[in-house]
């Protein structure tokens, strides 16, 4: 609203005569209904028994004066003025015999009820806002005691996580496992250990093939056993712990522990 000043009806209506004198600060109103309520209060009667006609006239007079001093009124106020002007004319004219629209008295009554309702809610608002209020009139404990929290972990994993983890690992190691199967071999160390044991028993020449078969029942292992033990036997020969003999190519290989004296002779 543009009006900043107290709008003094009395002064504005200087040339008028017998106008009720009152001071209205238009800036302080919360819309036309509020203004109407204020005007109604000035009738100093119960809102239920208010003269709506008088009220309409007062409102219209107020608007007229406001326009004379070129106050810019919000559209709301003007709409209300138009409606009240219509109501006023309806109230002054005799009622048409068959009313299609609500009668003037009904309209007036509805307005009075609206004002009453606003008045009531205002009273209620006042009561509400003047109640003792939290943080202003009463306070909670300033230092509430913290609840001690014992953390208990709850682990989370979905079935998908579980299955994916399983497949991932099995997949990763599937190929490695295959190699493991093929690697059913006699390592050099294993062969050497077996040969060393043999050295304890075989004082005389033994056929290495016979001996290997007696150790390695599984035929699949024969090749790896032969290869590893041959390499191991060469190692033992180099160390002077074993003697090897082969009569001709592809004939059996004979082995025996090297006698102690020959070790010393060498």
């Amino acid at each position: 609203m543009a009006a900043q000043l107290a709008f003094e009806m009395e002064e504005a209506a200087e040339r008028g005569e017998g106008e009720p004198s009152f001071v209205v600060d238009i800036d302080g109103f919360e819309g036309p209904l509020d203004l109407l309520l204020e005007l109604a209060r000035r009738q100093k009667v119960d809102l239920a028994r208010i003269s709506v006609l008088a009220l309409a006239e007062q409102y219209l007079a107020f608007i007229e004066q406001a326009q004379k001093v070129r106050l810019e009124l919000a559209a709301d106020y003007l709409v209300m003025a138009a409606w009240l002007a219509y109501l006023k004319s309806r109230l002054l004219l005799p009622e048409p015999p068959k009313a299609e629209e609500p009668g003037a008295a009904e309209l007036a009554d509805a307005l009075a009820r609206r004002l009453q309702r606003l008045e009531q809610i205002r009273l209620a608002a006042e009561k509400l806002i003047n109640r003792p209020r939290f943080g202003r009139d009463f306070f909670s404990r300033g230092e509430p005691e913290a609840v001690a929290i014992t953390k208990r972990s709850q682990y989370e994993a979905s079935l998908y996580d579980l299955l994916a983890a399983y497949a991932r690992q099995r997949q990763k190691h599937a190929l490695a496992r295959v190699r493991l199967k093929r690697r059913i071999v006699w390592s050099l160390a294993e062969a050497r250990e077996a040969l060393s044991r043999l050295l304890g028993i075989a004082v005389d020449w033994v056929d290495m093939d016979d001996w290997l078969i007696s150790y390695c029942v599984d035929p699949k292992l024969r090749r790896t056993a032969r290869a590893s033990s041959f390499s191991a036997s060469l190692e033992l020969v180099r160390e002077g712990k074993l003697e090897l003999r082969q009569d001709k190519a592809f004939s059996p290989i004979w082995a025996r522990a090297r006698p102690d004296n020959s070790t010393q002779a060498a």
Binding site: E30, P32, L36, Q120, R122, R133, R136, F138, F139, S140
Partner: protein, 232 residues
């Protein structure tokens, strides 16, 4: 414990529960940062203790003291006595003063809930002033409840638990001046059908003529509106 029993003896009161129940309830409500409902209190009381009787007795013990046991929003909490507010008023606790428009809007929402923006405007005879709803939302006292099943499906507003706590009300039915309003028969008038419920209702359930707000996007969208809707 013995001392509490002694206290009761001296007061000539025979409680219908173990004194221990009283101590536990007292400790719980005293320690809590927020009001506690009876179910929460009962869960810590010895089996079979009558929580309502315990709380009534505790309330009696604290009546007239510097700290009182009060019931707000159907929950129990300790509060400094209202008559000592002068003692504790501090500047830093001063609250933003609400505009007259905001106060009236709050009252309309409280007493007539669930209400739409149009309902509020109808009662006040003026467009809902800029930011009035925002201020109330920000204060944490009102909430969007749903939408009215009517053309345009307007948002309905109501109060929440914070509202009850702030104004020290046990339930919305304890609003001051409610009887006068009811007596004046002003709950009907020109309000839409279904609005004629004689009592304000802050039930979390929706009214018959309400439907839920659809989604978060919906809420946001609506919440962006007030500026635009500003008429006057």
């Amino acid at each position: 414990m013995g001392e509490v029993a002694q206290l009761f003896d001296r007061l000539g009161v025979t409680p219908k529960f173990e004194p221990e129940a009283l101590r536990i309830a007292e400790a719980l409500v005293f320690a809590a940062a927020e009001p506690l409902d009876e179910a929460a209190i009962a869960s810590r009381l010895p089996d079979g203790a009558d929580v309502a009787a315990v709380m009534t007795e505790l309330q009696r013990v604290y009546a007239g003291r510097g700290v009182n046991l009060v019931r707000v929003a159907r929950k129990w909490t300790f509060r400094t006595a209202v008559d000592l507010s002068w003692l504790l008023a501090r500047e830093d606790r001063e609250q933003k003063k609400l505009s007259r428009a905001a106060i009236e809007t709050l009252a309309i929402i409280a007493y007539h809930q669930p209400v739409t923006r149009a309902d509020i405007e109808d009662i006040r005879g003026v467009a809902v002033s800029k930011g009035a709803l925002d201020v109330l939302m920000e204060a944490g006292w009102i909430r969007m409840r749903g939408r009215r099943r009517s053309p345009g499906r307007p948002i309905t507003y109501g109060t929440n638990q914070e509202f009850l706590i702030h104004f020290g009300l046990d339930s919305i039915g304890d609003l001051p001046g409610l009887d006068e309003l009811k007596g004046a028969g002003l709950f009907d008038g020109k309000l839409p059908t279904g609005f004629g419920v004689p009592l304000p209702n802050d039930d979390s359930g929706l009214a018959e003529d309400e439907e839920p707000l659809e989604a978060e996007g919906d809420l946001k969208e609506v919440w962006g509106e007030p500026g635009e809707e500003e008429g006057a």
